[in-house]
């Protein structure tokens, strides 16, 4: 059954979830007084170019164990909120100093550095609040919800994404590009898979497999992104001002592509134990191929 997933229509699965996620995110951040902060939060969270890969992976992991996607949506949205919060802070002038994000001005370029910091500071707690207030009671035991909160907090925290950002800014020959990428890009993907599993009722062993799967896919996705970006930079010039942890830049495109193939095999292997769930594992398997092949555009045309 494992090869059957190639016939799975990931595009339809993914895009139909995107519209539901966008709708829920839109409702989760209504504009109130003081309007500026809500507008700044909405600017980043509701960016139409956002692929929503993190929330979709959370929902797919929850559904793998027969969990209802209704149980997963609030956490899926929360993952997107904390993800945007950390991207807003990563883009700041004394961080990666990115004027643009997804082809349009970054948050601080529009709202100012002070608002951008506060928008991030508001999105982190909103994410936690969204999970505990909106997960339908009865679908998920409260102890599991607390594990989800703690999992997300750890992923964005001082040993997770914040550590990744710090190591990226202080990149030296000694720090390994793989380690930086695991922290900066693997953590959230890992967290997303694990949270989905927690919400869907996965066993501790299954959660460990999801942990390794998620981490591997997150790094894989970034390694391929680095290759695409490197090629674009070669063609157009320019590129990021700060942050050096590009696998393609450090090891070259060929080695990066070899690495990607290695990670593709590893990620799929982590799913071996889930064969018993039949076609419910297809979305997670298809993500792995998508991460490498980018066979379609999720948003835009």
């Amino acid at each position: 059954t494992m090869s059957m997933h190639t016939k799975f229509d990931l595009y339809t699965y993914w895009t139909s979830l995107i519209s539901e996620i966008n709708l829920q995110l839109d409702q989760a951040i209504p504009v109130k007084y003081p309007e500026q902060i809500y507008e700044s939060m909405r600017y980043s969270v509701l960016a139409t170019e956002a692929k929503r890969a993190t929330p979709v992976m959370c929902i797919a992991s929850c559904e793998l164990f027969g969990g209802s996607r209704l149980a997963a949506f609030p956490t899926a949205c929360a993952l997107e909120m904390v993800h945007e919060a950390s991207l807003i802070h990563d883009d700041l002038p004394y961080m990666d100093d990115d004027l643009f994000r997804r082809g349009r001005l970054s948050n601080h370029s529009v709202y100012g550095v002070d608002m951008a910091i506060l928008a991030g500071d508001a999105l982190f707690p909103l994410g936690f609040q969204h999970i505990v207030s909106n997960t339908p009671p009865g679908l998920v035991p409260e102890t599991r919800l607390l594990r989800v909160v703690s999992e997300i907090a750890r992923a964005v925290g001082s040993t997770g994404m914040a550590a990744g950002q710090f190591l990226d800014l202080n990149y030296s020959e000694e720090s390994s590009v793989e380690f930086v990428q695991e922290k900066k890009f693997g953590e959230l993907s890992e967290c997303s898979a694990v949270c989905g599993g927690l919400l869907g009722g996965a066993t501790d062993n299954e959660l460990e497999s999801l942990r390794r799967y998620g981490r591997t896919v997150g790094v894989l996705y970034q390694v391929v992104n680095d290759v695409l970006e490197f090629k674009r930079e070669q063609a157009e010039g320019g590129g990021k001002k700060k942050g050096n942890s590009s696998f393609a830049k450090v090891f070259g495109v060929e080695k990066a592509l070899e690495k990607a193939e290695e990670l593709r095999v590893k990620a799929k292997k982590e799913l071996d134990g889930f064969e018993k769930y039949g076609e419910k594992v297809f979305p997670l398997l298809s993500f792995v191929d998508y991460a490498v092949d980018r066979s379609f555009d999720v948003v835009g045309d």
Binding site: Y94, D121, P125, L126
Partner: protein
């Protein structure tokens, strides 16, 4: 009423603050350990363990004990509240915000570790506060832990602390800032987290809805009181006495209570808030409420 005043008089506030403060400091020291990457954790600990007065965590524990809970039930959340408070100070001191070089008598976080680490250390403290509440709370039902997570998140986000900071920033340089506007800033920027500290303690300790509501009102009064006194101190004390830059509000031409009301009327307003706060404690056992009476008194009459 008279009996309450007597209990309050006989209560050794200094010893109480010292003892609770030590417990909180110990718990914070154990909660945020040094690990890789060292610099982020050093930055987190630098500000978190900088010897603040621990008013918020002590309020949290006092409220928990008032309604029949224990110190250990409230301690992880009390620490979480202090982590959030510290995080908001780190971000607030940044050059793009208040641009402060001095905090609690020491160079501010970004002065020591740089702006990027200061932002990350703040973010990490924010996240860890929630992780710690969710993970380290013992002897309390998950339902209550979920309630206090909701409370903290609401108090510090765009409806709470952040709203206060935003309106504060947007008001800088405005000439027509009225009392209502000023109160919005302080109710959100300062009172929200103090309110959260008290309400969280009361929920964890198993307080009834009525008790939680009374303590919420108590906290809102002392939260506003805290800021009114802060404004008064800014114009009456020196930087050395305060351990932070004095006269800043005046220099920045910020709206403050002394500026809008005059110093005397601001002092009267502080007394009114103090009285209103204490009225909320009337229905509680006087001996158990003594720490909260004394904390209100302390906030009203502190010198720094």
């Amino acid at each position: 009423e008279e009996e309450n005043t007597q209990k309050e008089m006989s209560f050794d506030f200094k010893a109480y603050m010292l003892q609770k403060g030590n417990s909180v400091n110990q718990a914070l020291d154990n909660a945020v350990t040094l690990k890789e990457p060292l610099k982020i954790h050093e930055a987190m600990r630098y500000s978190l363990l900088a010897g603040g007065k621990r008013v918020r965590p002590i309020l949290c524990i006092a409220a928990c004990e008032l309604v029949g809970g224990t110190e250990s039930m409230a301690m992880p959340s009390a620490c979480a509240v202090e982590m959030i408070h510290t995080m908001s100070l780190i971000h607030d001191d940044l050059p793009c915000m208040d641009n402060d070089d001095l905090r609690r008598g020491k160079p501010t976080n970004h002065k020591v570790f740089g702006e990027n680490v200061a932002v990350l250390a703040g973010d990490a403290l924010l996240a860890f506060a929630f992780e710690y509440m969710a993970n380290a709370t013992v002897g309390v039902t998950p339902t209550r832990v979920i309630r206090v997570i909701t409370e903290l998140a609401k108090d510090i986000g765009a409806e709470g602390l952040v709203a206060g900071q935003v309106v504060d920033i947007l008001s800088a340089g405005l000439s027509d800032v009225g009392l209502e506007h000023l109160e919005f800033i302080h109710v959100h920027k300062t009172a929200a987290l103090l309110e959260g500290a008290v309400v969280i303690g009361a929920i964890l300790g198993g307080g009834t809805e009525e008790q939680v509501q009374k303590l919420r009102k108590f906290a809102r009064c002392i939260g506003l009181l805290f800021q009114v006194v802060d404004d008064i101190l800014d114009v009456t004390m020196s930087s050395q006495e305060l351990g932070k830059t004095a006269g800043k509000d005046l220099a920045a031409d910020k709206a403050t209570y002394p500026k809008l009301l005059g110093l005397e009327k601001a002092r009267e307003f502080a007394e009114k808030l103090n009285t209103e706060a204490k009225e909320q404690l009337a229905g509680f056992d006087a001996a158990k409420a003594a720490p909260l009476y004394a904390l209100a008194e302390y906030i009203a009459h502190r010198q720094n």
